[in-house]
Amino acid sequence: MKTMTIAKAINEGLRATLANDPKCFIMGEDIGSLGGVYRVTEGLKAEFGGHRVMDTPLAESGIIGTAIGMALRGHRPICEIQFDGFVFPGFNQITTQLAKIHTRSDGQLSAPVVIRIPYGGGIGSIEHHSESPEALFAHTAGLRIITPSNANDAYWMIQQAVACKDPVIVFEPKRRYWLKGEVDTENSPGDPFKAHVLREGTDATIVAYGPLVPVALAAANAAAEDGHSVEVIDLRSISPIDFDTVETSLKKTGRLIVAHEAPTFGGIGGEIASRMSERCFYSLQAPVIRVGGFHMPYPVARVEEHYLPDIDRMLEALDRAFAF
């Protein structure tokens, strides 16, 4: 066991991947000598060379598009998109090309490209630097989407993403990059597409992922002081979603809160609520309640505290659930 930040854990995961797979390389903007704007790739160029840690021209469609071509030739590119809000020039390549090449070729080709995207708010930044666009990608069949909430998952998930034969987007919770945790570099946490129950409870369940997992755990602690036993699930994978784990929990607790920074409208929370009402309607003691961002472009930093779900917003949702 080693203690490290999420950023360092990803860095170590990338290092292990580069060392193990000669076909694997990293490409993106400012990831070489600078080590990325969040220093996640720090030291990797010095260790593996510019050939394996490649600074690209400033062009997101070009990054994803050339990565697809290199993957078709048998290489394993890991693309870094600098910020969530800057992925959209590459959106066409991701959704119309990368997601579809396996099925378009009737299963003959695959393009196992990994795309790392720092996402989410809470860092007081300027516009386009705090967004949570995961639902836009989750809606696209052919992509897999995972998001670590802790250092151990961060270390393993990047390696598991590279090992996967499908394209994988890894959304990294940027405001948690400096969150420290224990990393077991010997034993993998298992299937990256499975949810983890982080805290057991009997009265309600909070499902969260990425940056809101620590918030959900804190809310559960606060609820415990009021006598409520709240289970917390770290979803970990946004596509596919591990509905079975959520269903099992909901059947036990009868109440479900789904929390994410992304707007609730058309989001992952709505998808989970809908699936659960189909799967276990009679287990529900209350409607599934979503806690998330509002239907507005991500607001200016001075008011983002009102936009981002926090402990009180989760407790308010729990109150509503318990009121039924």
Partner: protein
């Protein structure tokens, strides 16, 4: 001296850390006839056969044709005639309701057969959706091209068998793939010098030239000296929009802006297209980086079978281009030089009819598609949602007792 005149000489200075081979570039192999400034005018292009089928002397590209035997040149004609006959058959199949859509290639046969023939087997081609002639040169069974248009597949062939990628319908989306593939070749060569040298040809049109992906691709290709040939068939029309809306200057002049060589070629002259593409591929394979070729040609037919060119262009313009027909031009040359006799042309016609009959019967025999195959290919690895939805679908299908009910795959 225009800024773009530096294109060739400045290349060494502008190239930085490459993805693999090709870091050294002794004078980049630039020869006469290759654009090194942006002063190319409308009529200024490489031509080895004039409109009357008369051979033109040219010192850089002419030798590539001088080296060819008569059989090879006859082969160019045979391939052009074959794809034209195929095109007629596919159009007929669409009109008869057997294809949802067809994309005619008539008029562009020289641009496609010439460039496709210049490739070696290890090279890799990324087509748009109109490269039926290139498909023929790569050795595909042309019947496979119709699976897409009949609605039974979004691909139709294994691209790795003939190094001919799937058709791409999102305009220009294939250009960065081609550059990436070329960068992959560089990496393979760097890792294992015994890797067979290869280059990539990516096709696009005058309409696609306006897409950002073409720009980004040329930036990447130039920066990493990727062995890729950008082959633009400027057929003068992007559906209904004339070339002038895409560019105020010949497209080849953009090459200078990227610091790569450009060649403008008469796209209806199969010999010239073959020679310039051969040159460009050698340039790329030898580690000198990308080349842009603009082949000036004309889409004689409609954009697709759903299009109506009478709404946006004059018949007189079409007549001008029909007079530049690439097949007639080569036929005139072959006859004048005594390289082909009547029996040859008769044989080509018969072979074309035979291929057309094969394409027709193969298409009609295709049968339907099975949605289970689509469930099976969304992901390469098992996916619980896909499995759940497939199971639901199977149950739903099984709930019908009527034998005539569709079973997930049309007959």
């Amino acid at each position: 001296m225009g800024a773009a005149q530096q294109s060739a000489s400045d290349k060494n200075a502008s190239a930085h850390g490459t993805g693999g081979g090709g870091t050294s570039r002794p004078d980049a192999g630039i020869s006469a006839g290759v654009l090194q400034n942006n002063q190319v005018g409308e009529g200024d292009m490489i031509q080895l056969l004039d409109a009357h089928g008369k051979r033109q002397a040219e010192s850089t590209f002419g030798p590539y044709i001088d080296a060819l035997d008569a059989e090879t040149i006859r082969g160019f004609y045979r391939d052009m005639a074959t794809v034209r006959r195929f095109d007629v058959e596919a159009t007929a199949l669409q009109r008869q309701g057997e294809l949802a859509l067809w994309v005619p290639v008539v008029g562009q046969e020289a641009a496609q057969i010439g460039s496709g023939s210049a490739m070696v087997p290890a090279d890799y081609a990324f087509p748009t959706y109109r490269e039926h002639g290139v498909a023929l040169t790569r050795g595909l069974d042309l019947a496979d091209l119709l699976k897409l248009f009949r609605g039974v597949s979004n691909g139709g062939w294994d691209p790795r068998e003939k190094n001919f990628h799937l058709y791409t319908l999102v305009l220009a989306a294939q250009t960065p793939h081609a550059v990436g593939y070329a960068m992959g070749i560089q990496r393979d060569l760097a890792a294992d010098p015994t890797t067979e040298p290869a280059a990539v040809v990516v096709y696009f049109g005058d309409g696609s030239s306006s897409e950002g992906d073409v720009h980004e691709s040329m930036v990447f290709a130039a920066s990493y000296d990727a062995p890729v040939v950008f082959f633009c068939q400027n057929n003068n029309w992007a559906i209904s929009v004339p070339f002038e809306v895409q560019s105020k200057i010949p497209l080849v002049n953009r090459a200078g802006g990227y610091g790569i060589p450009g060649i403008r070629v008469d796209g209806n002259d199969v010999l010239a297209v073959y020679a310039v593409t051969k040159w460009a591929l050698e340039h790329a394979r030898n580690g000198h980086g990308p080349v842009l070729i603009e082949a000036s040609t004309y889409r004689v037919g409609a954009h697709t079978t759903a299009d109506d060119p009478t709404k946006y262009r004059r018949a007189a313009e079409e007549e001008i281009w029909k007079a530049k027909d690439p097949l007639e031009r080569l036929e005139t040359y072959l006859r004048a030089e005594g390289l082909a006799d009547e029996a040859f042309f008769e044989q080509v016609k018969n072979d074309g009819d035979e291929l057309a009959a094969h394409v027709r019967s193969a298409t009609l025999a295709l049968g339907g598609a099975d949605i289970r195959q689509k469930f099976a290919t969304v992901y390469a690895e098992a996916h619980p949602l896909v499995a759940e939805e497939l199971a639901w679908f199977e149950n739903y299908q099984a709930s019908f007792t009527d034998n005539e009910t569709e079973q997930g795959g049309a007959a």
